[in-house]
C-alpha cells in the first residue's frame, strides 16, 4: 500500500449565501461532485483548473481545513474525512500547506523566527532554534532574516518563509495552493526550482494547485484537471501535454499565450 492519499467519491457542498431566501436556510452549493484519485508516496501531482473549478476547495479538504460532506479521504491509511480537531492534531504535522498569498498567510505581527518556530513548539520538537536555521538554509534565506517581519520581505522571500515553515515540520505531504501566482516570473522560476529540489532532497509528496498549465508542466509528474468540481482528466503530465483528451484541457492549453508572436491563437 504505497498510496499516501486515497480520495474516493469526495463531495463537498457549502451553503450558498447569495441565494439564501429572506426566511429559511440557504441552498447547498455542490463544489466537489464526487472526486476519486490516489496520490502515491513521493509523487508530485498537479491539480489544475479555472476559477470555480473547486481546486482550492479540494486542497483545503485534503488538509482538513474543510470537512467533506460525503465520500472519504484516507491519509497514510487513516480515514481523516470526519476527524475532529483533537484527533487531527497529531496528524497535522504530517500534512502541511503552503498558501497562495504569503502576505495574508504570514501573521504580520510575528517575526520569521516565530512564524517557523511556533508550529514546531506546538508539536514538541526539540532544538527548535537549530531547526529554524536549517529550514532557512534549505530555502536559501539568510539566517539573519529570523528577526524580520513579513512586511520587511519581498514577495518571493515571503513565499520562501512559507515553504520553510512547511518543511520545518518534516511532513510527508505538502499542499501548495497557487503559491507562485502572485510572483514575478523571475521569482516564480526561483520558487519552482527550489520546490523541485526540496521534493527530491526530502522525499516529499507534493500536490501543486495552479491555474497555470505551464507551471504544472515544469514541476508535476501527473496532472489532475478539474472542471466544475469534477475530474476531467488524470494522467501523466507528459501524455496530457502531448495529447490532451478532454475538450476542456485542450481549451485550457490553447488559451495560454506563449511568448511567441508566431503562435496561432484563435
Amino acid at each position: 500500500m504505497d498510496d499516501l492519499y486515497q480520495v474516493s467519491d469526495l463531495r463537498l457542498s457549502l451553503a450558498d449565501m447569495t441565494a439564501k431566501p429572506l426566511f429559511g436556510t440557504a441552498p447547498r452549493l455542490e463544489i466537489l461532485k464526487g472526486l476519486s484519485f490516489t496520490i502515491p508516496k513521493g509523487e508530485v501531482v498537479g491539480i489544475v483548473g479555472g476559477s470555480g473549478s473547486g481546486k482550492s476547495t479540494l486542497g483545503r479538504a485534503m488538509v482538513r481545513l474543510l470537512e467533506p460532506s460525503g465520500g472519504s479521504i484516507r491519509f497514510a491509511g487513516t480515514d481523516i474525512t470526519h476527524l475532529d480537531e483533537t484527533a487531527l492534531r497529531p496528524l497535522r504535522r504530517r500534512f502541511q500547506m503552503i498558501f497562495q498569498d504569503p502576505m495574508s498567510s504570514l501573521n504580520p505581527r510575528h517575526t520569521v523566527n516565530r512564524l517557523i518556530g511556533a508550529p514546531l513548539a506546538l508539536h514538541g520538537f526539540d532544538g527548535i532554534a537549530a531547526r529554524v536555521d536549517r529550514a532557512l538554509d534549505h530555502v536559501g534565506l539568510p539566517r539573519s532574516f529570523k528577526a524580520r517581519f513579513p512586511h520587511e520581505l519581498s514577495g518571493g522571500q515571503r513565499q520562501r518563509v512559507g515553504i520553510a515553515r512547511a518543511i520545518a515540520m518534516e511532513p510527508e505531504f505538502i499542499l501548495a495552493d497557487e503559491i507562485v501566482s502572485g510572483l514575478d516570473v523571475s521569482s516564480q522560476a526561483q520558487v519552482l526550482n527550489l520546490l523541485e529540489q526540496l521534493v527530491r532532497d526530502l522525499g516529499l509528496t507534493l500536490a501543486f494547485i495552479s491555474h497555470d498549465l505551464s507551471v504544472i508542466r515544469r514541476l508535476c509528474a501527473r496532472t489532475i484537471v478539474l472542471h466544475h468540481g469534477e475530474i476531467v482528466e488524470n494522467r501523466p503530465t507528459a501524455d496530457l501535454f502531448a495529447a490532451p483528451a478532454a475538450a476542456y484541457t485542450r481549451d485550457l492549453l490553447e488559451a495560454i499565450p506563449l511568448p511567441d508572436p508566431g503562435q496561432v491563437w484563435d
Binding site: V185, S186, N193, R217, P257, L258, P259, D260, P261
Partner: protein, 289 residues
C-alpha cells in the same frame, strides 16, 4: 507623428524623494498598440496613471512632460486638463470587481461620461451604451444595463469596462493589466475583444502587463522597464526574435512556455540584475550631478 508623447517623465515619492520613474520617454502613434512590460515595481502602471492624471497623492511629477495631441498636459489648468484627458483618453482597469460601483446599475456607469464630459442627452447616451454592450458581445444589452455589477461574472464585468472605455471614442486607451484577474480561457476572449475594438475604432492602446506572452499576442511594439527606467524599446517581431538587452533576454527566458518539453525555467541571473541595477544607479548619479 506621435499622438501621445511622454518626454523624460520622472516621478518621485512626495517628501521622501525616492524615484518611481526615471526619465521615461515614449511615443505612441495613432492606432498603435504599445506594450509596457516589467516586473512589479518597475513603474509600468505609474506611466499610465501619470498620463491619465490619476497619480496617487503621495507621488509627484518631478520632471518631464506629457503631450497629448500637441497639448502639454502640464501647462493646462487642472479643470481644463481633466476635460482634455476625459475627452481623449480612457482606462481599462485591472480589477473588474472594484472598478464598478457595486450600488449603481451598469447603464448609468457607462453613460455618465458621455453626459458629463461630452454633454450628450441621456437618451442618446443610453442608445450608444446599448450599442457598445452589443459590440463587446454582451447578450441582452438592455437587460445588462439595468443589472448591478454583482449579477455579472468577472468576464462580463470586464466587457462592460471595455465598452465603457470606448464609449466616448477616446483616441488613447490605457489598459492596466486588464486580464490578470481572469481565467486563462476568459483572458483569451477578452484580449481578442480588446484588439478587435481597438482596430475597429482606430484607438491607440497603451497595454500595461507583466506577461510577455500577452504582449506577443496583443502589441505591435513594446517598452521594457526596470526600476522605473526604460531598458529596451523594440517591435514585437524583433523582440521575440532576440531581445537586445541582457535583462530583457533573461526576463524572456524566465517566462514559462508549456511547449518546451523540459519545462525548464531560468530565473533572471543575479549578474544580470546587478548589471541593470548598476545602469540605473549610474543614471541617477548622472542626473544628480
Amino acid at each position: 507623428m506621435s499622438f501621445l508623447s511622454v518626454e523624460n517623465l520622472s516621478l518621485r515619492i512626495r517628501g521622501d524623494g525616492a524615484r518611481l520613474l526615471r526619465s521615461v520617454t515614449l511615443a505612441v502613434r495613432p492606432g498603435e498598440v504599445m506594450g509596457l512590460v516589467g516586473e512589479s515595481g518597475a513603474g509600468k502602471s505609474m506611466i499610465g496613471k501619470a498620463i491619465l492624471g490619476i497619480l496617487p497623492r503621495a507621488v509627484e511629477l518631478s520632471g518631464g512632460r506629457i503631450v497629448l495631441e500637441g497639448q502639454d498636459l502640464g501647462t493646462l489648468p487642472a479643470a481644463e486638463r481633466r476635460r482634455v484627458i476625459g475627452a481623449k483618453a480612457a482606462l481599462i482597469p485591472q480589477d473588474p470587481l472594484t472598478a464598478l460601483n457595486p450600488s449603481r446599475r451598469i447603464g448609468p456607469q457607462i453613460t455618465d461620461r458621455l453626459v458629463d464630459i461630452l454633454g450628450w442627452d441621456r437618451a442618446r447616451a443610453e442608445a450608444r451604451a446599448a450599442d457598445l454592450l452589443a459590440e463587446v458581445q454582451i447578450p441582452q444589452p438592455a437587460r445588462v444595463m439595468r443589472s448591478y455589477p454583482h449579477e455579472l461574472s468577472g468576464g462580463m464585468r470586464q466587457r462592460v469596462l471595455i465598452a465603457s472605455a470606448f464609449a466616448a471614442e477616446p483616441k488613447l486607451i490605457v489598459a492596466d493589466e486588464p486580464t490578470t484577474a481572469l481565467d486563462v480561457t476568459v483572458q483569451k476572449q477578452i484580449l481578442r475583444l480588446i484588439r478587435q475594438m481597438q482596430e475597429r475604432h482606430g484607438t491607440a492602446l497603451l497595454f500595461v502587463t507583466h506577461d510577455l506572452g500577452v504582449v506577443s499576442k496583443v502589441c505591435q511594439n513594446l517598452t521594457v522597464l526596470y526600476a522605473g527606467a526604460v531598458v529596451e524599446r523594440a517591435t514585437v517581431g524583433a523582440f521575440f526574435a532576440g531581445p537586445a538587452h541582457p535583462y530583457s533576454r533573461a526576463l524572456l527566458a524566465a517566462t514559462p512556455k508549456y511547449t518546451d518539453p523540459t519545462g525548464s525555467l531560468t530565473p533572471v541571473p543575479e549578474a544580470v540584475v546587478a548589471a541593470v541595477r548598476a545602469e540605473v544607479v549610474a543614471m541617477d548619479e548622472a542626473e544628480d550631478g
